[in-house]
Symmetry: C2
Subunit: 380 residues, 2 copies
């Protein structure tokens, strides 16, 4: 076993000594490397990099993006848009279909920043008339994930023709989707297929909207001059594609940290894992090879990763000089969680290394939720 499987209270390096409750620990060097890699790929592909801030949702980490040359960002709610606008960002897209009840806040935002809004229905588009300052309008298209967006097969795009023609001061900018279906992939080839299918579907949708809104003639088949943009954004796709072909903008978010789900999909390496949750060990149960940690669904939510023998909520990691590394799932995983309790199932060899008062470093199944739920952060 590595010597530093977990930090024992008395021997904890100073930087972890004060942790007395579940705390997000971010490996800054890894996160910055993840950001730089994605930014470079976008630049090489000639597409706009508008990274999603929903995973970290932390304005301090936002500055790491800015340092990497990022000037445009994506957020997932009106509230987050306000937070990042307050932190000095002035080109923000809210990648959630317009919440029409929030128009007062949205009008304020539109007056302060270059705002992009997502719509997928006539009511939302018509509501935009009440926004005095011009905004970019993106049409949400369902590329196959069936969460939100216009079904491109159902005539729904044509139904938006009249409302879109009445946009007035606002600019129809393009079509957008989140290909969350890539998370269901079994192998990397599936993820590439989702990318190609999504890009083709969105491209078709953009051209259809161009025809409906008079930007393109009915017999104009030249796809080279498409003027409406295509924006996509899932981390699996953006991680495995070598070039971002067929799109104009990418909005991945999870890639800043990655997690066990992404590792299981094969879209990141172990040393890309930039977030762990440090959880105090409250009890060790040798009879059942289990360990109780302070860290439950309030901190981890309940998104699971699969392994051959079921599901787990995170993997126990060793902490090495170059950062943490998850143990094999069978050697240590978060088997069960309730509100504040987490039960780690570990091998006998690992159990022998763990003591009450240690910190267990858990790489979560899905990083987005802990990053949004836990308020204590530590950057190392």
């Amino acid at each position: 076993m590595p010597e530093n499987l977990a930090y024992h209270s008395p021997a904890a390096p100073e930087r972890f000594a004060s942790i007395d409750r579940p705390t997000l620990v971010v490996d800054r060097a890894r996160a910055e490397r993840n950001i730089a890699r994605m930014a470079a790929k976008a630049a090489a592909s000639g597409v706009r990099f508008r990274p999603h801030q929903k995973t970290h949702n932390n304005v301090e980490i936002g500055e790491w993006f800015r340092a990497a040359g990022v000037t445009a960002i994506t957020v997932s709610s009106v509230e987050h848009a306000v937070r990042f606008a307050d932190a000095g960002w002035d080109d923000i897209t809210i990648a959630f279909p317009l919440v029409t009840r929030a128009m007062p806040v949205i009008r304020d935002l539109a007056a302060r920043v270059h705002l992009g809004l997502l719509v997928d229905n006539a009511v939302a588009i018509e509501t935009l008339r009440s926004v005095p300052d011009p905004v970019d309008v993106w049409v949400d298209v369902d590329g196959g994930y069936h969460r939100s967006g216009v079904d491109p097969e159902g005539g729904g795009l044509f139904d938006l023709r009249e409302p879109l023609l009445g946009l007035g001061r606002h600019r129809l900018r393009g079509v957008m989707t989140h290909a969350g279906n890539s998370y269901k992939a079994h192998e990397l080839a599936d993820i590439r297929e989702v990318w190609r299918r999504t890009a083709a579907t969105l491209s078709y949708a953009a051209e259809a909207l161009e025809r409906y809104t008079g930007r393109r003639g009915p017999d104009d088949d030249d796809i080279g001059d498409r003027r409406l943009e295509v924006s996509v954004g899932d981390t699996p796709g953006c991680s495995v594609m070598e070039r971002f072909a067929g799109v104009d903008e990418v909005r991945p978010g999870n890639f800043v940290f990655y997690d066990c789900q992404q590792l299981a999909l094969g879209v990141c390496d172990e040393d890309d894992l930039a977030l762990a949750v440090a959880c105090p060990i409250a009890a060790v149960y040798p009879q059942r090879n289990e360990v109780l940690i302070h860290g439950g669904s309030v901190q981890f939510s309940r998104d699971a990763a699969t392994w051959p023998y079921g599901e787990h909520y995170g993997r126990l990691a060793t902490v090495e000089a170059d950062g943490w590394h998850p143990l094999p799932v069978e050697a240590g995983h978060l088997r069960a969680i309730s509100q504040e309790h987490g039960v780690l199932r570990v091998s006998p060899e690992v159990l022998a290394e763990l003591r009450v008062g240690d910190l267990a470093f858990i790489v979560p199944a899905h990083a987005c939720l802990p990053a949004n739920l836990v308020r204590d952060w530590l950057f190392i």
Copy 2:
């Protein structure tokens, strides 16, 4: 269909008009009735009512308990203990095995309030020596849920003999468990069986500890004079038992709101459901009988309730003069959630009543998580 299936923006009563993001709405009359009913049952049974504050975790709702005569409470973390101590509570039990890394905060708490602490291992018990002010010590016993606590069958209670004899100024108060296994019941009789089995196991554990620590002679079989207390606390058990037989203290928490899980178990009625999450409707998809709401795993977590055709995360409710009532599951349930998105599957009849800009009232599958995750509250 009822007229007021959801509140349309223009017609919304004043009290809901300002809701522009997922908001917890609490029916105060129902919550107070739930509190009064449980308090009366505890009083009639002659047991201490030490309600868990982990579900609402809200000091304002804590005052509703105080108004019902409650003077002693349970919390699930050191952080929550501080919050409720700051709100004036002076008899607090932290029902989570001692987090030894948090001793500085715990020492401060012990100096301020009558503090109860839970332990299940020698390291934790020995750590209590560093607390100058006397605390009540409860031994966590695994009554069958296998989350935390000493296995009463494994010799583990005897192993605690020496540490417990060295408690010094602290007082060994009793044994405690959370019978979370009651949530797996198929019928009410199962829940009653879990209660009886748990009470018997804990009673045995209390007597064993009395023998090991010299409070009871080796041949003393009179169970009538047990001096160590038994504390239990699951909402299903506390709701269905007519009398709290065999225990000295009850610590239920979820009962203040109840939820779809409890309704499915049969331990509450529809008009006991005191919490709903009001979520803005962002899109309506007639083609697939689905509705997009702002409200996802950041708000609901991912605890599910089961129904014959799978799982769901909450039920759509109508809002009537006497409060909300969940529709049948097939008429409206939260089918899928991602970070901020919720997809409601509804019947065609319900879909026809819903419009972009309405609020959907969702009774969550499990109330504890939304109540801890959503920051916007509205009491009606």
